[in-house]
């Protein structure tokens, strides 16, 4: 049955973070678009080696923080000024007591930023995703231990089962294998 399954990617293992980074530079220069490297920890400088730009997560968090800020403002001012104005400790209703509203505004800003951060992370990484073709490759289980891998997806326009394998071989890939969906 395995033969009938579509090829997902061609993958290779590398010896060290340094080897993986050189390999990534070659694959980037060869013009591939749909590929990735896998490592037990983030490798310093890998984003540049892969030709990736800055993460957009901060923009999502900014929107989240802004939502929290406006929620804090709205929640307090609408309720305390319009719906049910309460005068406690003789503090008047109005702009002059603004500092007393700051803590709640601040905390809600932080809370919504954190939710946006985690939600944005899930969105940008498309996780949780409990099934992935790479998990079918036995050697890949060491990716969370001390294994360093590179996989070029079959969807990439430049992908060719023979030429891509050759490229991976040239740049020092070991255990080169086809990964099926």
């Amino acid at each position: 049955m395995a033969e009938e399954k579509r090829v997902y990617a061609i993958a290779a293992e590398f010896k060290s973070p340094a080897d993986l980074m050189h390999a990534a530079e070659h694959v980037r220069d060869a013009g591939f678009k749909r590929w990735d490297v896998f490592s037990p920890f983030p490798i310093h400088g890998m984003d540049k080696a892969m030709g990736l730009g800055k993460s957009w997560l901060s923009a999502i968090v900014f929107v989240g923080g802004l939502t929290g800020l406006l929620t804090g403002l709205g929640l307090q001012f609408i309720t305390a000024w319009y719906i049910y104005p309460t005068i406690v400790h003789g503090k008047p209703i109005g702009w002059m007591t603004i500092p007393a509203y700051v803590p709640v505004i601040f905390e809600l800003t932080i809370l919504c930023s954190a939710f946006a951060c985690v939600g944005g992370l899930a969105l940008l990484t498309r996780l949780p995703q409990w099934y992935h073709p790479l998990f079918n490759w036995e050697r890949f289980s060491r990716v969370t231990d001390n294994g360093y891998y590179l996989a070029i997806e079959a969807r990439d326009p430049k992908f060719s089962q023979t030429k891509t394998r050759q490229l991976l071989d040239e740049i020092g890939g070991m255990h080169i294998t086809l990964v099926h969906e």
Binding site: S16, V61, L108, I110, S113, T125, T144
Partner: protein, 494 residues
Amino acid sequence: MASDTSTYDTQKEEQYRAEVARVPLVTNDRSAQWVTEKVSVLTEKKTPLWWWIAILITSPIAAFGFFCLFYQVSTGVGVWGENHPVGWAWDITNFVFWIGIGHAGTLISAILYLTRQQWRTSINRAAEAMTIFAVCCAGIFPAFHVGRVWFAWYLFPVPNSNGIWQNFRSPLLWDVFAVSTYFTVSLLFWYIGMVPDLATLRDRSKSKLRQWLYGIFSLGWRGANRHWRQYEMAYLILAGISTPLVLSVHSVVSFDFATSVLPGWHTTIFPPYFVAGAIFGGFAMVLTILIPARWIYPQLKDLITEQHIDKMCKIILLTGSMVGYAYAMEFFMAWYSGSPYEIWVFLRNRVADPYIFGPLFDVPPAPYWWAYWSMITCNVIAPQVFWWKKNRHNLLIIMIIVNMVNAGMWFERFVIIVTSLHRDFLPSSWGMFHPTWAEQGLFFGTFGLFLTLFLLFMRFLPMIAMAEIKMVLPEADPHRHAAPENDGTKEAQH
């Protein structure tokens, strides 16, 4: 000119790098595989006997605490000793005590991350866990001290049965927002940090159940660099927002006191003083837990090294001295203010002991002088031994001092709350505070809860942040080719 500066800088940098021969963060030149093995195995091998013994001691204590809570809820809050004039005592003392303990975890995970203190990596997971468990314990007290706890929803921002909204200008409501935000953000930060390590446990699982559980919670993490870059950004942002958060939480806690008009509470020094005290007490608790953990699991000695303990002792020394300065400044301001009430609280309610200061100022001894001087001894005097390197490397001395600090920080909150309240403006209502068994039992019970949760954490979750440790290993440097010498076969030299 420009090119000159650049070459000069490179040379200088090389020189500095050579000069600062740093002690390695992970000793004995361990490999990534060694880290995975030694940390994962703590959750994989057969449950050790000590663990069963420990949890059989701590869980009944926790259960007793819950029994006391049940008794309090079913009978009424009058089973506690709080009464006029001391309306807040152990409940709020314990709340501030526990919430303060949590702060060291956030300091380690967020502030030390932003300041690039890489030594934090081996202790941050356990410290963050401690934060979450401490906040769980802390939350019990304010929630149940309201008396009829089923009305606690009045604190949430929804209108009550009469359509009245909360008073958002009350520090007590700020507290609700601050503490719940703190708990939520700490939990998210802890969990997000743990995902790659849960994936490690998933990939090593032998049984179906473990594979399934760790598989679900690791969200299908596969170490892709396209994920790592988002992940690192998320981690940085969470650290960035946790830093002002942790400072705000204890500031808001201090506002509960500082915004009132009670002498002894009404002071502007409270927010920084509370934050320093929280970090001080929190680090003491981190050491109280990690030193025994390191003794039980000797393999952790290469990860939580003497260098880590030394640095934490230095932080305790620093923050302890800051707290000492705050105590002195409070006392000075009471005198400098010229307010007879302020002077009364500090001199006659706190400082005046029967032997030295009472006779010196010619005032009768303060009823709670022993609490004040316990606080000074434990928080200000005791940590001064950490000026000597020898003491920062003697685990017995450290354990004694940090436990004094734990006790001293509890006394600090007790002193602030009870000594300010027990003699108010109306001498006819003066009185002492007497704790009952129900509140003593509940406080005791929270220690059981805290330790039980920590034992469960040690057994079922990766106690050390493996992925982060691997990042600081020499082999993680993409400019280095040689493999490490020690592949895990050699034993640690201790």
